[in-house]
Amino acid sequence: MAGATDSTSDGRRSGLTWARIRRYGYDTLTYLVYALAIAFFMFPVLWIVSLSLRNEGAVYTSLQIIPNNVSLDSYREVFDSGILRWMRNTLVVAVASVAGIILVTTPAAYGFSRFEFRGRRTLLLAILGFQMISPIVIVLPLYDIMRTLGLTESHMGLVLLYIGLQIPFSLWLLKGYFDTIPTALDKAARIDGCNRLQTLRYVLLRPVMPGIAVVAIFNFVLTWSEFVMAYTMLSPGGEDLYTLSMGIYVFDNQLATQWTNIAAAAVIGIVPIIIFFVALQRYFVRGLTDGAVKG
């Protein structure tokens, strides 16, 4: 009896050590993956920052991440070239687009979540279909339409375009959030004498706020980074209208080989959005996963 317990505990102990060895193996492998991933994904950003801080002559000592003489000359030159204006344009366009997207999408998401009507499912699937289609496919007719409406070379036009392009994704995401709010709340508000507008405003808006935040953050990053539409619609309008990414692209073409200046412009294009993202990445990740994998 005693011998039997001994042998099982013995067996378990040796199994445990074997498992522990294996566990260490997996842990080491995982840490190796982390290290490689961080190196690979962080390096380009670190290196471009490093390049931007060098003197024009020091660009050849490439692997030295911290330059010998840190110089801010390139930033001074880039700021003189109007990048602040492009940044302000981008900010204005992004904020206006986000506001517009929320203003248009929230009622629509409420409508799809709270009404039963014929063709509802078909409409939702059609909207999902639009989400699947890349805007690049329709950039040519869009340019034609915008030109006809007199909306090219204007930030207002670009904002309207962004709202139109971002509705499908935002609508699906927000509808998902509305669906999680029990309809008992609506009924209670109804009994209280609220009409639907008041119900949305005073009862449902608060619980759906996290969803709206996710939509706002997501669309802010998207419109901040957007290039093709901005480049196509604003290009003829002159430098004063440029957004950040198109400004940096044009700037890069003009400067040819002034690497430190190009690097400084790139850093200005990268760093604010990364800071914004790192601060809010929790919401961002939620939006991405909620929006795309809803069984």
Binding site: F41, V45, V137, I163, L165, V285
Partner: protein, 321 residues
């Protein structure tokens, strides 16, 4: 007792409000907001103008000889498609897009799944670093595509400024023509694309992995399944719906790639990295042939829809939606 008086108070209040509210304007408001049309109209308007109409319009334009610079157009029907499908340029574009897309899909899904597994393992076993890894990889994805292309172009420069060639040089290697050799350029574009795109697959797979219940792993362990058997018979089947979504979305992104390649190689050297979207854009805005470019866009659209349909059939996802 307390609840009863509460409902009583409520109904009294309701009655008062109802009698007060039956006046004209608010009745009209009431009726208007009771119709779904009121709620959907603004969104419907935007979608019609900026998505539905352009979609129809791109088909119509592809049947004309429309030009960017001169007004006036006439229908040439399928002439654009005939020319397009017969041209060497378009065939090379299709080949480049196919190579780029297949490589990107495999690389990004592989990288994404590997990273997601490592992060999920780290979170389940309380290792340090999963959050930092996740945020770092995702930051790469957040950088505007046009700037990613620009940064990689400088990194891959074929002089000593280019950090990759500079480093290789210090180990005694010759300059590698990352951007001036046709095949190397395709490779460079694929790698830069994976640098950007892996984050998306990673975060989607990670969300999928988080949803696998711990009990399933424990049950499999009790049944004597080793780590590989557990991965094969527990993790992978549980990931199937996510795998489906990721595969479709990564395919769509890859097929429609534009901004990163636009900044990194601009389709060069020659047309070695000219994908469909780039070819379309250049035909329209450098060649002014809007009709021909629209036909290119339609081909891109048809290819995307066709491949999505094939995936739906392959994954046999119908029972899961």
């Amino acid at each position: 007792m307390g609840t009863e008086s509460a409902t009583e108070g409520l109904s009294v209040r309701t009655r008062i409000r109802r009698t007060v509210d039956r006046s004209g304007i608010s009745a009209v408001v009431d009726r208007t907001v009771s119709s779904p049309l009121f709620w959907l109209l603004p969104a419907a308007l935007f979608i019609s103008v900026f998505q539905l109409y352009p979609m129809v319009e791109v088909f119509r334009m592809s049947l004309t000889d429309m030009s960017l610079v001169s007004s006036g157009e006439s229908y040439v029907w399928l002439e654009n498609y005939r020319q397009l499908l017969g041209s060497d340029r378009f065939r090379s574009t299709l080949r480049v897009t196919a190579i780029y897309s297949v490589a990107s899909i495999l690389l990004q899904i592989g990288l994404g799944l590997g990273l997601a597994l490592a992060i999920d393992y780290g979170v389940r076993h309380n290792l340090r670093g999963p959050l930092l890894t996740r945020v770092t990889v995702l930051s790469a994805w957040i950088v505007p595509g046009i700037i990613i292309g620009l940064v990689w172009r400088i990194m891959l420069l074929e002089t000593n400024v280019g950090v990759v060639n500079n480093t290789l040089g210090q180990f005694g290697f010759d300059i590698v023509p990352f951007l001036s050799d046709a095949q190397m350029a395709v490779f460079s574009v694929i790698v830069a694309g994976a640098w950007r795109g892996a984050a998306f697959s990673m975060i989607m797979f990670y969300a999928g992995l988080k949803r696998v219940p711990e009990q399933l792993y424990r049950a499999a362990k009790i049944d004597g399944a080793g780590p590989f058997a557990r991965f094969r018979h527990v993790t992978l089947p549980q990931l199937k719906p996510v795998m489906f979504v990721v595969t479709i979305l990564v395919t769509i992104y890859s097929l429609n790639s534009f901004d990163l390649i636009f900044a990194l190689t601009n389709g060069g050297p020659g047309r070695a990295t000219e994908v469909i979207a780039l070819s379309m854009y250049k035909t329209a805005f450098n060649g002014y042939q809007m009709g021909m470019a629209s036909a290119t866009a339609v081909v891109l659209l048809v290819v995307t829809i066709g491949i999505t349909a094939v995936y739906m059939w392959l994954f046999d996802i119908t029972e899961e939606i």
